[in-house]
Symmetry: C2
Subunit: 323 residues, 2 copies
């Protein structure tokens, strides 16, 4: 059995409470006492029991990161940063995957983790704004990547509309006129996809729209959709993809059809995943500041409760070889 406060107290010849005071850095402990207690702590290898501490304090030091899939590179990179930054703040991150399933997202909103964590970083996919409003749970919640003004919940996200406008505008600036948007989510309430679509439309103005739906946002979806798109009567000369994964699938499709990128077809992605820096050619993309997003989100969680914040994280367009 691990040593407990009582064991340390006996060993050091002080009360349990004094040991607790030392452990917690309480102010009024005589230096000599502190030293003696610390020696006993080291000698016995005492470590506070987290369960007891949690029970007493009501805080766990855990934060849940809820994402559709942790093996999607964007979320993996976001998770890596979140874990690092959380650690610096004495927090530990646990991972929940929803697989983009609305039911599972609802569960999370309604307290599936409320006993276990001090806060939830939630990257929603399919859940309706009404569900957010109807949330019963009281655990601090921060939405990641959503930014559609749904009241009552903290948000951290880049300006998706502006970013999509820039991406599309960049394709226009390079002389493209038949620009497709790849990544529409017809059935889903996904706010992010809607905003990127809005930005695309704004930039396009009166030019013909070419809006391609996909089931999910993975490479395979981008690949499949792009093959179809290239086989149709009037294929586009550029595609704005809502994720880098889609873009990489599309890039592969272009290669399958013998097209040269960016000459025959320009591509812009979204997310700036590591992968896109080493594709051939390297992927032009919108780069959200993931470090900043993670940081701001954790700030929100630890901040004093107040009116719901809506925080905009920075992004920039990174032009590389596909455009």
């Amino acid at each position: 059995m691990n040593p407990k406060l009582r064991d340390v107290a006996e060993h050091a010849g002080v009360s349990v409470r004094t040991v607790s005071n030392v452990v917690n850095g309480f102010r009024y402990v005589a230096p000599a006492t502190r030293e003696r207690v610390q020696a006993s702590i080291d000698a016995l290898g005492y470590r506070p029991n987290l369960a007891a501490r949690t029970l007493r304090r009501g805080r766990t030091g855990l934060v849940a990161l809820v994402v559709p899939e942790i093996d999607s590179p964007y979320f993996a990179e976001l998770a890596a940063r979140t874990v690092r930054i959380a650690e610096r703040r004495g927090l530990t991150v646990l991972i929940d995957q929803t697989d983009g399933d609305a039911e599972r997202e609802k569960e999370l909103l309604h307290g599936r983790r409320s006993q276990l964590v001090d806060g939830v970083l939630f990257s929603p996919w399919a859940v309706a704004p009404a569900e957010l409003a109807a949330r019963t749970d009281t655990v601090p919640l921060v939405l990641l990547g959503e930014h559609d003004g749904t009241a009552g919940v903290d948000h951290v996200a880049i300006d998706n509309v502006a970013a999509a406008r820039e991406a599309t505008g960049h394709l226009l600036a390079t002389g493209r006129r038949r620009i497709a948007a790849l990544g529409i989510q017809p059935e889903s309430l996904n706010a992010t996809a809607r905003q990127r679509l809005a930005g695309y439309r704004e930039a396009l103005g009166d030019l013909p729209r070419l809006e391609i739906p996909v089931r999910r946002l993975h490479r395979a979806d981008g690949h499949r959709a792009m093959l179809e798109l290239l086989d149709c009567a009037e294929p586009p000369d550029a595609v704005f993809c809502f994720t880098d994964e889609l873009a990489l699938g599309a890039l592969r499709a272009a290669a399958d059809r013998g097209l040269t990128v960016p000459d025959d077809l320009a591509l812009v992605g979204f997310d700036d995943i590591e992968d896109g820096r080493f594709s051939v050619p390297a992927l032009t993309t919108v780069s959200p500041d993931k470090d900043r997003i993670a940081e701001l989100a954790l700030d929100c969680l630890t901040a004093e409760p107040g009116p719901p914040r809506s925080i905009v994280a920075p992004h920039r367009l990174v032009v590389r070889g596909t455009s």
Copy 2:
């Protein structure tokens, strides 16, 4: 405040203990009582307090997954599967990143998480076998991806030597004779890299060896090393890369130098990450059965304590476009 057992007990007119029995599915509860209690639970929205439960039971339901970096695709994919399988077993996964730092790995071995988790899945990078043997911590530990017979700890890994032999053998079978191995870790005690090197050497027999060291196993490392390699006097006609990431960096380097893969240069990777299926051309790779690895590792954690197991997970060579 959340309702507790006492509140439910009062509401249902039974003792606290009986409510606990219902919650825990204890056998001897009269159906009528169970129903009444369950109704009260639902009415009040009772959820067990995990901290109290943990304190009492001594188990947390948490498992730590310790990896060098969660945003490395192989580990992200492994994590995704681990989280899914763990969830089915009522376990929650928390993520620790070591960044390949020996100090941090040691911390984990010496109980950094022992209070918080029921078990640790540890994917070591730099830690010495001696550290493993000197482990003081008693939390169940399973090593992932190591398999060098270090006594005293459970292992789950594929047969890295055989896999590397197959990969190299495949390149030989396609007529290559000047085959490099990319991914050597000269300074590190990393067992995985050593085993893959051993397999490479076995397959090569008396053919000339070309063993290329890299600092880490990322795309950038593969890219850099491959550029150097291609610029030297006698460049190889094939490269066996110790990870897919290295291979993708190498693939990019080949493109940078105007080489055609696989005609001018064949590549084989290792890990079968999603990314490699959509590169141009698609990456030939060794595919470890990640689902099986996650499953076996969790089996180990939950199994009765016994003599250290050394479990070999299946793998297969997936031939695609780069060879």
